[in-house]
Amino acid sequence: MILSGAEIVVETLIEQGCKIVFGYPGGQVINLYDALYTRSDRIQHILTAHEQGAAHAADGYARASGEVGVVIATSGPGATNLVTGIATAYLDSVPMVAITGNVPNSLIGRDSFQEVDITGVTLPITKHNFLVKTIDKLADTIREAFKIAKSGRPGPVLIDIPKDVQIAKFPYQECPVVEKKSVRKAKGDKLTRAAQMIAEAEKPYIYFGGGAVTADVSQEIIALADKIDAPIGCTMMGLSAVPVDHPRYLGMEGMHGHYASSVSQDEADLIITIGARFSDRATGNVAKYARKAKIIHIDADGAELNKNISVELGIECDVKDALQRLLMLVDEKQHPEWSARIAALKDAEKAQFEKVTAKDRITPYALIQETAKHTDPDTPIVTDVGQHQMWTAQFYPFQSPRTFISSGGLGTMGFGLGAAIGAAKATGKRIVLFTGDGSFGMNLNELATVTAENIPVVIIIMNNKVLGMVRQWQTLFFQKHYSNTDLHVRKTDFVKLADAFGMKGFRISELSELSSVIEQAFAENAPVLVDVAIDQDEFVLPMLPPGGCIEDIITERGDQS
């Protein structure tokens, strides 16, 4: 079958199982959009308001489904608008294929209209990228891009296709969906050593990150914890892989982690790490991180072993296979003293939480709990970045994997709305987006997409009229110099904004309205926005100061002690 390059792109996407693409047309992808037009029966295209929204949507789609998300943009500004979205996916190891058009080969390098060297620009934020100069390589390059994106530690891949390659004709032959490249299996002696270290440990702590979500090892983690009598903590990227109400689960550790989780990690004599990378937000000061513990690090990416901290035993491997084999090697253990200590820490955490959480006003905690009454265990919960993100990470009762969709590594404000669109398309479910007035302001243009596509998202804005996370730092570390973090001067009315975009908006100002308005919002079978007024000085607690260690933990606001 002789097809044009544009048609080959679309056929290869269909062949690779892609059912939906997010994007924005432009001069150098007109041919591609023409091919999409004729194949709209097989592949859906979601037009966003901005290419950044499309990139986040492809990312949200991938996070919610585990499949490769695909985004299309034109050359020049279309391509550069993807950059933040691609970097977000890269830092959180999300499988994504970004396809950009470029000026024809004959015009490359001449600073032509809307020409940019996007493979150069995205070089450090992609797993790999391709400039396809000839049509004979086109189909195989797309297949290879899918393979790279989803193999091992996943990540984004960009394919730049000059316009003349989209126009040229070449035979196309359908191929099967590419298989993931196999990751090496753990060596037996390393697993034996791990089992030995576990047998010798008195205070083991299981610690997982986003790699556990990718490897789909929730059951293995719980089984291991049960067998060796260990508590389970996680990084922010690991959230939702283990149900929050599981008795062994302590929650997220790190800068804004749960007290019991962070303290028990510090007291542990063995940390069994599964698919985490010891980011500075998770460890604080690496020199003072987990000083009493030996560390086992199991990861699909060998380069993460001994990168940020030195470990006693690093195992680069297929994580699921390794955990299944490790489970058979370890003996059942009981650690009554350690369990008692963990229980005491959980009690202390609960008591402190009761002490610092107000009951007489709308707190983020109350809002999240109220929202959770209306969601299902598999409802995807999307966030932007900032205080609301940390509160959601701390308080939302996650039940099933891939339900927490949030920008961890890059911390991209403005991620949420686009990601919610993608997650909704991936799951066909009601979505919740927790956002803040700062983050939401960054990419609220995607409300146009939300209403055009009738995305069933409940957007909950925790509106404190400040850039709360930075303000919290300014309060704690910058003598309350609230430099450019006060948004009271803004006149935005989010309820009217919702109306302008063609969706319903609600406002909650008093605690008494909370429950009834949230109920009304969820009763709508359409996109809705809820603007919730919260206190500008609400803190995210506890907090390990940047570069600090467990002794520096802040558990209450100065004026509360």
């Binding site: 450090p124 790279i148 030195s310």
Partner: protein
Amino acid sequence: MIERFVIAILVENQPGILTRVASMFNRRGFNIDSLTVSETEAHAYSRITISLTGDQGICNQIIKQLKKLYNVKEVKVMDKEKSVYRELALIKLKNTPETRQEILSAVDIFRSKIVDFSPSTLCVEITGETSKIEAFIALVEPLGILEMCRTGVVAIERGCHYLNSETSL
């Protein structure tokens, strides 16, 4: 312990590969002492030789990050004891009646050669291990170096060791 490492990297012979390798070093804050790149016995591959200074941990991390690059086929730290290292330098020196004899005897002792000679300048080509070249430079520096360029290190292992695992006798 800070040591000198020489890393040989076999990459696909395609445009932009050098940028990808160099960019990784830059992004992760690894310093390069020297870098050379050229074709190999197989047209499909180029060989990059990088010399750098650091501790074993940094060296390990560099190897692992290099192996993650899509177009990188083989990476090997050259065994210090079992490899041949060579570097070439072209050094242009002031040619004066006072210094000429001293330069010529240095050239003779270091088994290097004069490749250009003008009334006021002369140019020396010297090949050898980095330490030899540095010793020569130290010797002639007081005599007035006008210009200098060096190739950086290339290295190959002695005996039946090949970087390309596909090569066999």
